[in-house]
Amino acid sequence: MKRLSEKTQPMFKNLRASLFLVYKAISRGNKGTLALTIMVITLAFVNITFISSILSGAVDLAYRQAVDNYVSNIVIEPGQDEDYIKKVASLKTRINMIPGVISCSSHYSLGSTITYDVDKDGDDVREISWTVKSIDPEEETTVTNIHNFMVAGRYLDKSDRDQVIMGREVSGGYGAGLEIQSLKGAEVGDEITIHYSNGITRDYEIKGIFVTQLPLADMAVFVTEKEMESVLGLRDRASEILVRTGQRGQEELYIQRLRQIGIVDEEISPWIRYIGLISGITQSFEIIKRIVAFIGLVVAGVTIFIVIFINTVNRRRQIGIQKAIGMDEKIIIASYVFQALLYAVVGIGVGLGVTYFVLVPHFISHPLPFPMGMVSLLITRNELTASIVGLLLVSLVGGLVPSWRVARENIIKAIWG
């Protein structure tokens, strides 16, 4: 106890003296410089947080879209050398019994050529090679949200046999944006012919067109499960089963649980494996976020460095006097470091206020239009912590370097030049 007290007492008195100098320097110093410095830190913080959270919002939207409208959380596919998953009905019952699983849906998928004779006279026939999938329309609504994004016509009914629904990237209308082959303007009510790869050809009416805004999802063509089973001559099989779980990010846990109920031969993958295009975009966003954060931190650090540097140069004589009356260098350095940290803390505090009370409410009511949908700010705890810690660190260095330089100067030189 005695040794601890011997160590902590000088620390406490040094801390008290440093904080006293900070308080006096700030309360009796130039308020304009103080406000300007805090404003720069605030802007740096808001800049880092805003760019980071808007890009995070865009990434999150893309991921949400992928899970909600494309592949759900987990995809089960046939094992090696198998074309289909077997005994699908009982498998789905077992999957649905896993705690935390919301639902699952099975799809058939089959390669095809789709033709669309615009005027039904053989003059303007548009043809694309495409994979057609089947859904149980009712079951599918529990796993994906496609039924909520019909922009024309209606969603499929369980009993539909000669009708299809398709995404805008296939129909070629409703703002389809990808430079891919499409039916270039097929509308609800138009007839198309699907030549399946197993040799069967059938005519269908386009019942509905959906726009999820996720290009991967909007590239789908669906018929009903019953229709596809009649095309394939199969029952109780599936090309894939989508599994919807409660929370994104726990896929590996559910994959383990799926294995535990006996799904051992099939391939089970999380949704992230199916979004190659989006992954590329999100990686680019990550790089942009880091560059912006780095530049923001450097700007904040340099600003604090300049402020403290000018401060210490202007107070060179005072620092010399402080040393002459017996003030330890550590106290002097600490006072400038605390000053820099105070700028940072207040700047961050104001920045947090601006972010949470101005930017977040604004972007909730006025989200930004992105190709994948309307994007709002997504502030993650990790990124926020990284911004705060980063700013505090650069402030620490920005305060430490100039004060250390001046505080170590010879007393005579500091006072009399």
């Binding site: 007492q9 000088p10 406490f12 008195k13 008290r16 003296a17 006293f20 006096k24 320097a25 009796r28 110093g29 004589r317 005072q318 006097i321 402080q322 040393k323 002459a324 009356i325 017996g326 003030m327 330890d328 260098e329 106290i331 010879n410 007393i411 005579i412 006072i415």
Partner: protein, 230 residues
């Protein structure tokens, strides 16, 4: 009390300058010594070395038998805080602090309790006639008042030795009289040891002894005898 033995200081500039060429003298406890000499004689250098603001090239400085010239930088800082007082030529107060804060700062650094350091500093400022100016910022005080604050600050830690570097160089006659009388009174009443550098002839009259320095060596010493302040 203070024993200076063959103290030398050479400034290593482009052409090395030997400011002190071997100075030796002693100061007794409670003695008021004035170091006098023309500009460039080495008197300020000597004071800086004695007050541990600079490091000698060679030689020894003993205070109460301890060689203080060999202390580390950290130890010198602590020694200045605990044992020495220094009155600078141009007041050297901290402008962001008021008179009271300037005076109690060394006590705060020593870890004294707030109540105690405020009381001590207030008492000292009253002693130097600034009891009504405790909370005035430095720029609100006249030159003479600032120097009296500086004297109060130099005494707040009850120093073994008080060093004063031309303490009245920028003052009018009235203020010179006030400051010099104050130093003399400290010596008489508190037995305070004072070493003062000056180039003003009338100021040396307040000292007990004058050490004449020229070209980095002591030329002569002159005993004056104590003078009772008016």
């Amino acid at each position: 009390m203070i024993k200076v033995i063959d103290l030398k200081k050479t400034y290593e500039v482009r052409v090395p300058v030997q400011a002190l060429k071997g100075v030796s003298f002693e100061v007794e406890r409670g003695e008021f010594v004035a170091i006098v000499g023309p500009s460039g004689a080495g008197k300020s250098t000597l004071l800086h070395l004695l007050a541990l603001l600079d490091t000698p090239t060679s030689g020894k400085i003993e205070i109460d038998g301890s060689d203080i010239s060999t202390l580390s930088s950290h130890q010198k800082t602590a020694f200045r805080l605990k044992e020495l007082g220094y009155v600078f030529q141009e007041y050297a107060l901290l402008p962001e602090l008021n008179a009271l804060e300037n005076v109690y700062l060394p006590l705060m650094l020593l870890g004294t309790a707030r109540k105690e350091y405020v009381k001590t500093a207030t008492g000292l400022l009253q002693t130097v006639g600034l009891g009504q100016r405790l909370h005035h910022l430095v720029h609100e005080l006249s030159g003479g008042e600032q120097q009296r604050v500086a004297v109060a600050r130099s005494l707040v830690n009850k120093p073994k030795v008080l060093f004063a570097d031309e303490p009245c160089s920028n003052h009018d006659t009235e203020n010179k009289g006030i400051v010099m009388s104050l130093l003399r009174r400290l010596c008489n009443e508190l037995n305070q040891t004072i070493v003062m550098v000056t180039h003003e002839m009338e100021e040396r009259e307040y000292a007990d002894r004058v050490v004449w320095i020229k070209d980095g060596i002591i030329e002569r010493e002159e005993k004056i005898g104590r003078r009772v302040p008016s």
